[in-house]
Every structure is written in C-alpha cells, then in structure tokens.
C-alpha cells in the first residue's frame, strides 16, 4: 500500500471518528503544522495555540472533506493558512507575515563555538529570507521548512506546478545572491 493510499485509509477512518486513525493522522501532521505556524506567527506559545485550533477545526470539518483533486495535506494547510490570516486580521497591527519575526531557526548546539557559528548562519539566513517576496517566502517555507511536495504546495497556493518551480527558482537565486554578497 502506498503512503498516499494509507493516508487515504486513515482519513476515511478518522472521518468515522476512529481514535487510532485520528491519532496517526495527528502524528503525521502535528510537527509540520506547528512548524508552519511557528514561522508564520513567530511566537512559540501562539503557534502552539494555533496548532491546537487547526487540529480541532480539522477534526470538526473532516466529515465534510472529499477527495476532489486536493491532497489532504493541502486541505489541512489551507485551514492553517486561513487561521494565520484571521490571526493577523484580528491583531490588525501587522499587515504582512514576515520572516524577520520568526524565532530561532536553529536549535542551540552543545559547543559554544559551534552555537555561535550556527547563530551567525541563522541570522544570515533569516536576513536573506526577509528580502524575498511574500510568495517566495511562502514557497520556501512550505517546501524546505515544512516539507511539502510541489503538488501539495501547488494545490494549497492554487498555482500551477510550473509556477511553483519558477517561484522556487527565483527564491533560491535571490537567497544565493544575498548570502554571497555578505561573505
């Protein structure tokens, strides 16, 4: 059975409120969703609260989910994405989701020298990412930090596969230029 096939089974069982399937689906997505929200809102506590809300909404809306050319992951992340939009709309004080607002990208290392070096790398990476356009940031976040496939990103952002590849290319090129200019 393929990975997607098993996910489909899990979703169908979770629709029937099967606890094991619900738990497995949760395990499949919790880290990705948290990571996405963390980078979007830049605050661990707020990201945790939003993660909770995403899964409650997923569970609530699951019986209405149907497989119509949309991967389940794209459906889950569309809920997360809408929540982020609502979150910022409610706060109404930040108009754009910014990568500068993210917390640490790298965990602290044991060795202080290594940690300092990583911290410097983190800073450079964050600064470079902050220069990307909104759609480049979104694609970079979903692809490299969250780990979604092109097809999933394409369904989520409602763009063609070619457009996603093009945004990815431009984003990486822009990052490279920025990173190289600093060295």
């Amino acid at each position: 059975m393929t990975e997607r096939g098993s996910e489909r089974d899990l979703v169908e069982k979770a629709k029937q409120r099967d606890p094991e399937a619900t738990s497995e689906l949760y395990d499949l997505y919790v880290d990705k969703v948290y990571r996405y929200l963390y980078y979007k809102v830049g605050h661990p506590v707020e990201a945790e609260d939003l993660t909770e809300t995403v899964f409650l909404r997923v569970l609530e809306a699951l019986p209405r989910f149907s497989w119509k050319n949309v991967p389940f992951s794209a459906w889950v992340f569309s809920i997360a994405r809408n929540l982020v939009i609502d979150h910022y709309r409610r706060r109404a004080r930040r108009t754009e989701v910014a990568f500068e607002e993210v917390g640490p990208l790298f965990a602290d290392g044991g060795d202080p020298h290594e940690a300092a070096e990583r911290s410097l790398l983190q800073q450079r990476l964050e600064e470079a990412i902050s220069t990307l356009t909104t759609e480049q940031k979104e694609v970079v976040l979903l692809k490299f930090f969250v780990g979604l496939s092109n097809a999933e990103i394409s369904a989520l952002l409602r763009k063609s596969d070619g457009a996603i590849k093009s945004i990815q290319h431009r984003g990486l090129r822009s990052l490279r230029k920025k990173l190289e200019s600093e060295t």
Binding site: A14, R17, D18, P19, T22, S23, V30, D31, Y34, R35, Y38, Y39, G42, H43, P44, V45, E46, A47, E48, T51, E52, F55, L56, L59, E60, R91, A92, R93, R94, T95, E96, A98, E100, E101, V102, G103, P104, L105, F106, A107, L121, Q122, Q123, L125, E126, E127, S130, V140, F144, F145, G162, K165, S166, Q168, H169, L172, R173, L175, R176, L179
Partner: protein
C-alpha cells in the same frame, strides 16, 4: 530556457531530498552545473535548518483532547446568543460578583482552592467591562502579576503551578497586545510597567525554579523565555529604532514590524542605547527616565 532550468533545479532538489546520486545527474547537465551547485547549496542550508518542535507535553495534551472529541459521537453545537445578550449577562454577573463578599473573599484565593474559580470569573467579568485597550492592558498586567504571585504560592502543586505560569505568560502577552494599539504616550507608560513586570517575573520564576518539581522545569524555562522576550520587546518599544549604521538584529526588525501601522512608530532618538539584560532595575529605570526627558 528558463522554464527548463526550473525543472532541472527542481529535479536536482528532489534528488537530494531522496538521497539519490547527484553526480550522474550533474554529468547530464554540465552546462548548468556551476549554477545548479550554488542553488543546491542554498537549498541544503534551508533543509538542514533545525526545525522548532512542539513540546512533548503540549503534543500529548492536544492528542488527548482530540481523541476525547473524536470519541464524542456528536459535538455539541454552538447555539446562537446575541452579542448584546452576552454583554448584559456578563455585566450582571460582574455586578453580582463585584458587590458580593464572595468575590472579596476569593480575592486572595490560590489555584486549586474552592474560591479560586470565583476570583477568575470576577476578573473575566471586570475585563469584559473594560472598554478601552489601555484599561484592558492595565487589567491584564494586574492579572499577570497575580498569576505570578499565585505561582509562588502553589509551587508544590504541579498542576496548579503549571496553570498559573501559563496564565501569567498569556496575560502578559495579551497586555502587550492591548498596549500596542494605544496612543504613543500611554504606550510608553504601559511598556514601562510591562518592563518592570517582566523583570519581576523572571526573578520570581528563577526563585521558584529551585523548589519546583523536575516536571515543571521545562514550563518554567519557557515562561522565563517568554518573559524575557516581552521584556526585550518592551525595551525596544521604549528605546525606539536602532541607530543608523548599527547592525539590525532579526528581533529588532521584528519589533519594527510589530509597531501598529495606525500609530506613528517610535521616533529614532540619538544617543540612545539598549540596556543590556545584565543591568539592574534601577539602571533600567534611570534609562527610561532619561528617554522620557
């Protein structure tokens, strides 16, 4: 040609992700190799960045909550209650709570005691009656202070302690949110209070950490970190933008973004310096007075 390169790059990234053999692939694309290698290096740096993780405790509590919901055959549906009706109801509750001796007696109660829910209900009622963001921010600051004091009293009761410090962090964040949308003058005043509060929080949390159970350490560290961030943001709000020429840190640009678009950002001030975290409170207070002058 550009389209083609997009595809080549995407295939190369997919190859790296699946840990496939890149050498053969590059052999077929010799012309693009230098360009590809540079972009793949950036992709590698992005992919290898350590990802933030949801704490184990929160992950499991959320799972429990989800499974409990999944076990319910039908979730209770929300019934429509008009907004005005809720307000009237809350106002009555507030008046009742604020005028009875029960609320007064509940005022000093600690988490886990019988009267504690009364105290929290009275607080919520009072908050619901606050109209301005400033009033809400001041109440939130007061409640954050109360939760801090409560955490000190219930350090031997893990569940109550956990709840108290989580609530303390939440109230502090909410106070900051409310404070961010008031006028500049009031904002500075509120931020100065927030600054003092977060310093007391860190001091208190470090004090209770020694006697707190091992299971509470992670929550304490997180609360200290949250408090420290709030403290840093309050300082930046008070100090303003970094000086020209001074390298801007991600967190400072974060602060810049947090400034409400409707109100003017804090004016850059010359000869301002950011107090280091090691500075004592009197040093910070002097610094703030200096800024206000």
């Amino acid at each position: 040609v550009k389209e083609k390169f997009n595809d080549i790059l995407d295939r190369a990234i997919a190859l790296i992700e699946s840990r496939g053999e890149l050498a053969d692939f590059l052999e077929h694309h010799r012309k693009d190799e230098p360009d590809l290698l540079g972009l793949l290096e950036v992709a590698r740096q992005l992919s290898e960045a350590d990802a933030p993780q949801l704490s184990e405790r929160r992950r499991e509590s959320l799972r429990t909550e989800l499974l409990a919901l999944a076990n319910q055959a039908h979730r209770p549906r929300w019934t429509f209650v008009p907004r005005w009706s809720r307000r009237v109801s809350l106002s009555f509750s507030a008046i009742l709570l604020l005028t009875t001796g029960v609320a007064a007696a509940a005022g000093t109660s600690s988490p886990g005691t019988v009267l504690y829910p009364v105290k929290r209900a009275a607080e919520q009622a009072r908050l619901s009656l606050a109209v301005s963001s400033e009033a809400k921010a001041r109440l939130r600051l007061l409640y954050a202070e109360r939760r801090m004091e409560e955490s000190r009293r219930v350090v031997d009761h893990p569940r109550a302690f956990h709840r108290a410090i989580n609530e303390m962090s939440r109230e502090t964040i909410e106070a900051e949110k409310n404070a961010s949308v008031v006028s500049q003058e009031k904002k500075e005043d509120l931020m100065a209070e927030l600054l003092a509060l977060t310093e007391r929080q860190q001091e208190t949390l470090r004090g209770v950490a020694a006697s707190a159970p091992e299971s509470a350490r992670e929550a304490i560290e997180r609360a200290v970190e949250n408090s420290r961030r709030g403290h840093d943001r309050a300082i930046k709000m008070l100090v303003g933008e970094p000086e020209i020429g001074k390298p801007e840190t991600p967190s400072s640009s974060h602060q810049k973004k947090r400034a409400p678009s409707s109100s003017p950002a804090v004016e850059p001030r010359e000869e301002k310096r950011e107090p280091s975290r090691g500075e004592n409170r009197s040093g910070d207070a002097e610094h703030r007075e200096e800024q206000q002058r």
